[in-house]
Structures are given as C-alpha cells and as structure tokens.
C-alpha cells in the first residue's frame, strides 16, 4: 500500500527533477514501478524460502555485505553521488551496500542475542564489534544517516534484549559526545544544526531546505493543492522524489492526507510488533523487532526532517522514496518478517 503511494508521488514529484537532471532517461515513476515489481518478486520468493530463517545464512550475508562496503570505497567500483561514495555500479544497475548491511548487521545481532542465556552477561564486546565495523566503513563513504539509523536500531534491539538501563544512560552521554565529534569533523553538519534552529536566518543558504519544505507544507492547508499540483517540486526542494517526498505529499494532499500516510506507518509498526509477539524463537522475535523498529525509526527521521522537527539529515522515507535498492531492501525485510511469522503457523 505504502509503495503504491510512493510510486504515485514519485510520478508527481520526480518528473521535473528527472527532466532537468537526467534528461533522456526513463522517468522516475516508470523505474520505480519496475523496481516495485522486482521488489514484489523478491518479496514472494523470500517468503517461500526457509533459507533466511537460518543463522548461517545471515553470518554469510553479513560478511558479504562487509565486503561490498569495502568494495564501494574502491575507486572504479564505487560510484560517487552528491559527495558520497555509496553506490556500486553493476552495468546499468546500481546498488547501495549500506542498505543491505543495515539488515545483515541487525539480523546477525538478533541471532547472537537470542543465544544469551539468562544467567549470562548480556552485554558483550562482540556485539559492539559487529556493529562498529560496518559503521566505520559507512562513515568512510560518508553516509551519516545510515550510520545513525543502524546505531539507533541496534540499540533499540539491545534495549529489548534486556541490556541494563544503566548502560543506556552512558550510551546517551556517549552519543552526545559522538555527535559533537561528528559535527566537528564536518562543518556542514554544524550549519545544518544552525539552519534547524533558525531556518529563516539564511533562507537561501544553510536554511534553504528547511525553509522550502515549510513553504511546501504550510500553504497546503487541510486538503492540499491536489494531486500533481505541487509547486515546490520545481527545483525549490532538493530531491523531491527522494528525501523530501513527504513534503510533496503534504503539499498535494494536505494535512488529512499526511495523517493517512502516518496512519499507514503506524499500522506497519503495529502489525510488525504483533508478528514479533507471535514468534516461536527468541531469535525471530529479536529479528522482527529490530527490522520493524529500524524501518519505523527511519520513517520518523525522514518525516521529522521534512516537517522541521529534526535537523536536516539525508534519510529516505521507507516504502515511498525513490530508489531501487532501498525499495527492494524494504520488501525484503517485510518478507523476512512475514516468513518468520509463517514459521509459527507451520509449526503450531
């Protein structure tokens, strides 16, 4: 359902952007439709396979994804877009290993956590190692958004896996320090923070995206301008088919439409948690929880940015934003989640 919304709005939002920047290419909405079909094929294939419920598979995939992350940094193999070397080109197709590594890391961690006996210490160094290696690799691209999502999702997983609360206090402190360090290392991040605090202070510079997003959302009112009638998509907003697609959605279908989209995400999280509760093994429970919360968190992050609650970070909106890799990964995740719960049915 969300993906259909996504295709529709990519049709609307992405048309002009693609005309300007990728003249002659297939329009976004057609590509996204094709991606969606492929993603759905992936989805139905994965559901039928028991392969992805096994721990071994995930260890392998984790390693593969790490290799890909390394490859992405190799000039000639990795492609650079918008200042980040995040893509691997395979002929006409490109993919983002970071999208994959987020899942494999979380899955691997889920299986590890499920093995922890009640008597054992929950906190283990290897958990952190498994998390930090991909993070470090992604930072080299750099792709701060993905790292952030991965870390937060992992910590949500640890939290559910009974990590002591005391640790979290420490982690939050550490997080603040880490954030500060990140900001220090790249001045554009500091500008984004300032832009967030006062976007109107520099509406043509650092505050541009935030301001333009507000200008898209505000005038839309309760009902919006109507489908296809966005004005801000004409290059006023950067990547209207991608990071700022929710702006365009809000602009075209207004407050009520935005609420519907929010509700769909709520429904997704709700049913995800419902499926987690039905899991027959703690490893599946953890896996479902971590994947659902990752998607949920990513959605929050994107929406938060669009509506000005969170400083600008380049994060896509799951299901809806344009992008083959991310769309396939999302449906891959959904397939895994469902296949885990299918286990329940077959077993019980």
């Amino acid at each position: 359902m969300l993906s259909v919304v996504g295709v529709l709005f990519i049709f609307s939002a992405g048309t002009y952007w693609s005309q300007v920047h990728y003249e002659g290419d297939t329009p976004f909405y057609i590509r996204q439709s094709i991606y969606l079909v492929i993603a759905l094929i992936v989805f139905f294939t994965v559901i039928k396979m028991s392969l992805f419920t096994e721990e071994k598979t995930w260890i392998t995939l984790y390693i593969i994804s790490l290799i890909l992350l390394v490859l992405v940094l190799v000039p000639g193999i990795g492609l650079s877009r918008n200042g980040s070397q995040s893509w691997i080109g395979l002929g006409p197709l490109t993919m983002q290993p970071a999208e994959l590594v987020k899942i494999t890391t979380l899955m691997y961690l889920s299986f590890l956590l499920s093995k922890v006996r009640n008597s054992e210490r929950v906190v283990q160094v290897k958990h952190f190692l498994i998390l930090i290696i991909p993070c470090a690799l992604i930072m080299l691209q750099p792709d701060f958004g993905s790292v952030f999502i991965l870390i937060v999702s992992a910590f949500m997983l640890f939290f559910v896996a009974r990590y002591p609360v005391k640790l979290y206090v420490g982690i939050i402190a550490l997080g603040v320090v880490g954030l500060a360090a990140l900001i220090m290392s790249a001045p554009y991040r500091l500008q984004r923070i300032f832009a967030f605090i006062d976007p109107w202070g520099d509406p043509l510079g650092a505050g541009f995206q935030g301001v333009q997003s507000m200008l898209a959302i505000g005038p839309a009112g309760l009902l919006g301008h109507g489908f296809g009638d966005s004005r801000q998509k004409f290059l006023y907003l950067p990547e209207p088919q991608n990071d700022f697609i929710f702006s365009i959605i809000l602009e075209e279908i207004g407050f009520f439409g935005g609420c519907v989209v929010l509700l769909l995400f709520g429904l997704f999280i709700y049913s995800g948690v419902g499926l987690a509760m039905q899991a027959t093994q703690s490893s599946h429970f953890y896996a479902v929880v971590s994947l659902v919360s990752m998607i949920g968190f990513q959605a929050c992050l994107n929406i938060g940015v669009v509506i000005g609650l969170i400083p600008v970070t380049g994060v896509t909106l799951p299901f809806i934003s344009y992008g083959g890799t991310s769309l396939m990964i999302i449906w891959f995740i959904v397939a895994i989640v469902i296949s885990f719960s299918n286990r329940v049915e077959t077993k019980s």
Partner: protein
C-alpha cells in the same frame, strides 16, 4: 511463550509508545504548520514563487465633489529584468543604456542583483513607445516590458500642496496620496511566468494572466470650480504684491465641508523633486500657525454678545488711541484713535482698545473658555495631514496684558483652519463643525461606497440669536467699515479683516505682516465662508482691508453661480459713501418710457440711444445694478409697445407673448 522474557515485552512496549508519541508530535506539528501558520506561510511562499511581470492596475483616482477628476493615471511602459535568464548581463545593460541614454554602470549594478525580478525604475519607467519598440527589437534575454502607470494631473499644480505626490512605484509619499495610500493602491494584474527555482521558464506550461484590482476612488468635498477661482485669485495676489506665501480656504459653514483649499507657491506633483520639501510638505491652511490679528476679534465679539455684556448700538466707547493695561500702553492701530463711537463702530473700525474693553467685560476665564469652545488650541479633526494645534496662553500665564492682547488677536497663534472653523460657528447659528475634505471613498469597480464622511457637529458654542448679531455686525464691517473692499452688490458679504505682524524667535519682524480677511455670504444665512491670508506682501499700505478683503470679495463673487448664491439678496446694508469712493447709484428702470420723457428726468448719467422708435424696449445695464455717475446707460428703441411693457412686467411675459404671436 517463555522464550520472550517479560522484560523484553515491556521494553518493546516502551519502544512502541515512543513511536506513538513521535507520531502524535508529527500530527501536532503538521496541524501547527498547515493550519495555524497556513496564512503566514502562504504569504511567504507566494513571495518565493513570485515570477510575475506586473501589469499595473490603475491607482485610485481623486475627484472633486462632482466627480470631476483631479488626479488620474497615464500609461507608462516600464522594463523588468530577470537576471537568472540572461548570461551576459553586462552586454544587456550596455544595450539598454545606449537606447535610453542611461549610465551603463549603474544600470548594470541594478540588473546584476541576486533577485528573481528587478524593476528597472525609475530609469526605465515611462519610456517612450519608440524606445520600447527599439528595446524589444534587441531581444535581450530576461528583459520584459510591463505596463505601469504614472500619476497624471490634468490641472497641473492645482491643489498640489494638499494632494501630495507619488514615487516611481506609484506609492503615495505625501499629502492625501500618502494618507489614503492603502485605499488608493491598486493590486497589479500580472503576467505570471512559471519558472523553476533557478528562474528558467518551465516547459509546456503557458504563462498565465492574473487579474488585478483598481484602487479606490477618493472623492473630495473640494469643488473644482471654486478651487480654480481661489487659486487664480491667489496667484494674482502673489504676483501683484510679490508675497512670500498665500493661502485660502473656502468652506460651507453649515456642514464643515471644505470647497477650496489653496497654498502658494504651488508645485507640479509630477516633478516634485524640483522644489524644496518645505513646499510640498507644508499644506499651509492646516500647517501654518501665526497671530490671527483682527480676524480673531470675531471670537471676542461673539463671547461678549453671548454673555450679554454689550449692546452694540446703544453702548458707546471712547478711544483715545490707546489703552493702559497694568502700566503697558496698548495702542490702537489708528494712532489718533477713533474717539467717541458705538460698539458697532468699534467692530467696524476694528478698534483695539474697544475690543480690550469687550474682553475685559467678558472676563479672562470666560474668554479663555470661549476660545477653547471655538476649537482653538487643538487640532480641528479635519484629518488633513500635517495639521498643527496652534498656541494659546496657559492659564497661569494669562495675565491682564495677555488677556488684553488676546482680545484683539495678538500674542496667540492659530491655524487658518481653526480660524475659519471658529468663525463659521460664530455666523452659522453657533454650531462648531468638524471641517472635512474627503467626502467619500468608492470602490472604483463596484461603485460601492467604502467610507463616507458626513457633517460632524462638535458643539453649540453660542446661541442662534447671538450668532445673528455677529452676522449683522460683520455685514456692517463690509458695508461701512474696514472690510469695504470686499463689498459686492447683492451678495450681502460679511467679514473681518486681519493684519498681524510676523513673529520670529519671539520678536516681531519689522515690516513683515500676514494680512488676512475672512468673509462669508449671504450675511443673513451664510452658505459660504472664505478665508484668505497673504504672507509678507510688498505694498504701500499693508492691511488686510486693502489686500485680502478685495480677494475674498472677488472669490465670493466669482463662485456665487457655482455654489448657487443669489446675486440679489434682499435686505442688504447699502455701502456707505466715503470721500474718494466713486459716487454710485442704482440704475433706474427706463424700459417702456418715451425718449423725450427720459430727457426731462435729468439723470446724472450719459445716455446713449440705439435704434429707431418711440419707446425704450430694453436697456443696459439692467435696472437695480450699481452704476457710477457719468457712466453710460444704453437704451434700445422700438415701436412694439407690447414688448416694452412685457419687459417692465416680466411676470406676465410668457402669456402675453403667446397671445400676440
């Protein structure tokens, strides 16, 4: 499900709650942005998208009370430029500058701004048609010629110091143009250009037309014909007496409507930069404050009559030429004094000691109350921009000397508009009105009245009875006293002169006077009141009676037909003969008489006879006009006795004529 610990479940629930809270926050934020801040953001967004070449709508017109247009608009092509659409701005600036004869560098600076749309004004506003065509021919990228208007003044300098002017964006900068700017301002129509954020035209999207709105029409109470007469008279006086400044107000005393409002020197509002700002920023009738001089005596007179402390005809006064007040010798303007006179003569002669006596009879506190009640010391509420308040003595400083000088109009300062409003009240039956000059504001598209001003009665200052006495006294000032030069036969003008020395830095300026006259007509039921003041006229005799009075007389005479004044008002006081005045008499009715009969009557006029016949059928001038001795009466002869009779008996005129023909 023992493999999931209860702690895990609890924590999972916490995470779900966190998501829900976030979702709620999003909804609240959306509501805030999309509903509460909707309007504000819409405004900002419009600015953000604004890629319109304005196609100006007309600014509202300013008309007189009869809808005659005083200020309107004229088309003027104007250039607009979108910097983003041109790669070689320097070259573009060079080309435009060469066609329009402009400074290339300055134009380039203007065109090279980081803006979406630059209006090339004032340099490239109101360019000629040929220039526009020539520039269009250059096909400069990003250059558009839009339609704009400039203000047009069909009557040139008329009323200019009241009207004010507009800047190159047709925004009101002074006067009524500034005061009513919001209502006069139109909303431009525009050609909407759909562009992306970079300013490039969007493919496959047609330009759109957006309708504008015309500005509202401001209708003044001014009567164009009255205004023209007033300004003509003032400009003649300016020239004749080489005066520094002159001003005039004409008002309907029964309503407070201002029919004419003039300040000299004037200026051309379309070239306001050519004159000093003291000219266009000062609307003299409301801005100027000065000693009113004798015109102020009307206030003292009104107070004395209302208080019943004088009988004008019976009470007598002896003027030795001065009065002593607390050791100070206050002189009459006539050095030898007016000697023995009635108080009516005190008024006619404008005798200072006589008015000091009247002021003393009223008493200082009461006199001050009357002055305040007549509206002095505060703005009249005319709502004309730049109105001053004038200066009165404070209660503590109002000693006997101040009291005495105030009685004959010295030591205080008032504005012309206060003066005319107060005198209007003194002669209209005692009603003080708020003067006003804007009659209504009309939506120029729908014709709907947006705002209308009606006469505002402030208060009853003196009784109708007292007012009648004041009118009589002032009519006799014109018929017999210092206002004689304002006399016009049959109009029954009443009035009062004023001559006041100007004050600079607290000292009287030597030989520098403001002479004034305030006149109204007809004296038994005033329909019009006119105030004229001339600042520093150069003439052998500088008195209000010799300079200002004839102007007011002329103005009232000339506007009488416009405002519907009867020219043969009954019951007028005949002008008293004084040595040097031409001897005049009324023209006798000679129509219907035979030539030899007329010769026997021995009139002191020359009589010229035209035509053949026995009877006089018509004559020039007509009967009852005033004629100087030795002037000529022309008689036209004929044989038609009927016609001759008809003329003498005009009431039956039409009937007889129908019968005979």
């Amino acid at each position: 499900m023992k493999w999931i610990s209860s702690v895990s479940k609890k924590r999972l629930r916490l995470i779900v709650y966190a998501f829900m809270i976030f979702g709620l926050a999003v909804v609240i934020r959306l509501f805030y942005v999309q509903v509460l801040k909707h309007d504000e953001l819409t405004e900002l967004a419009k600015e953000n998208w604004d890629r319109e070449v304005p196609f100006a709508s007309e600014r509202g017109e300013i008309t007189d009370r009869n809808g005659e247009i005083i200020v309107t608009n004229k088309l003027s092509p104007t250039l607009y430029f979108m910097p983003a659409q041109n790669d070689n701005i320097e070259e573009a600036a060079r080309q435009i500058a060469s066609v329009l004869n402009l400074d290339e560098k300055k134009l380039f600076e203007k065109m090279n701004k980081r803006a979406y749309l630059v209006k090339l004004a004032p340099e490239a506003k109101n360019i000629s048609y040929e220039q526009a065509v020539q520039i269009q021919g250059l096909k400069i990228d990003g250059l558009y010629s839009g339609v704009d208007y400039v203000r047009h003044y069909p009557y040139g300098t008329l009323l200019s110091r009241f009207l004010g002017f507009t800047g190159y964006d047709t925004q009101g900068l002074a006067g009524i143009e500034y005061q009513y700017d919001k209502l006069l301002t139109s909303k431009s129509a525009a050609i909407r250009l759909f562009t992306d954020a970079a300013g490039n035209a969007l493919p496959h999207v047609d330009d759109e037309w957006r309708d504008g709105e015309q500005g509202a029409t401001v209708e003044l109470t001014i009567d164009l014909e009255v205004q023209q007469v007033v300004e003509r008279e003032l400009s003649q006086a300016m020239e004749k007496y080489d005066a520094d400044q002159a001003l005039a107000i004409a008002m309907n005393p029964k309503t407070g409507e201002i029919l004419g409002l003039a300040s000299f020197p004037t200026y051309d509002p379309s070239n306001f930069t050519e004159v000093d700002q003291s000219i266009y920023n000062r609307n003299l009738p409301v801005w100027m404050t000065y000693e009113p001089g004798s015109t102020f005596k009307i206030i003292t007179l009104s107070a004395a009559l209302e208080e019943g402390v004088v009988n004008l005809e019976k009470d007598r006064f002896y003027d030795p030429g001065y009065t002593m007040v607390e050791g100070a010798r206050l002189r009459c303007w006539k050095r030898e004094g007016h000697k023995d006179e009635t108080f009516l003569q005190v008024v006619e002669n404008s005798c200072n000691p006589g008015f000091i006596e009247l002021g003393q009879r009223v008493g200082p506190d009461k006199l001050m109350d009357y002055i305040h009640n007549f509206g002095f010391g505060e703005a009249t509420g005319s709502n004309i921009p730049g109105e001053a308040k004038g200066i009165l003595f404070s209660k503590e400083r109002f000693g006997p000397v101040e009291h005495a000088t105030t009685s004959f109009g010295q030591g205080i300062s008032v504005t012309p508009i206060q003066q005319i409003t107060a005198v209007a009240a003194a002669v209209n039956g005692g009603k003080l009105f708020t003067p006003y000059v804007v009659s209504k504001i009309v939506d120029s598209e729908t014709g709907k009245v947006i705002h209308e001003n009606t006469p505002q009665l402030k208060q009853q200052v003196i009784s109708e009875d007292t007012s009648a006495q004041v009118r009589n006294a002032l009519e006799s000032v014109v018929a017999n006293g210092s206002g004689r030069q304002a006399f016009r036969d049959g109009l029954r003008i009443g009035g009062k002169t004023g001559t006041a020395q100007k004050v600079q830095d607290g000292h009287y300026m030597d030989g520098n006077y403001i002479v004034s006259f305030i006149g109204f007509a007809p004296a038994d039921d005033p329909e019009i009141i006119v105030y004229v003041a001339v600042d520093n006229p150069k003439s052998a005799t500088v008195f209000g009676s010799t300079i200002a009075a004839p102007i007011v007389g002329q103005i009232i005479e000339d506007i009488a037909p416009t405002i519907g004044l009867a020219v043969d008002r009954e019951g007028q006081l005949e002008k008293q003969y004084r040595w040097g005045d031409p001897i005049t008499d009324r023209v006798p009715n000679l129509v219907g008489l035979k030539v030899d009969e007329i010769k026997k009557l021995q009139y002191p006029y020359r009589i010229e006879i035209h035509g053949e016949g026995e009877l006089v059928v018509s004559q020039l001038p007509e009967p009852e006009n005033i004629l100087e001795v030795d002037d000529t009466i022309h008689l036209y002869l004929g044989n038609d006795s009927n016609k001759a009779k008809n003329n003498t008996n005009s009431g039956e005129d039409s009937n007889t004529e129908q019968n005979t023909n």
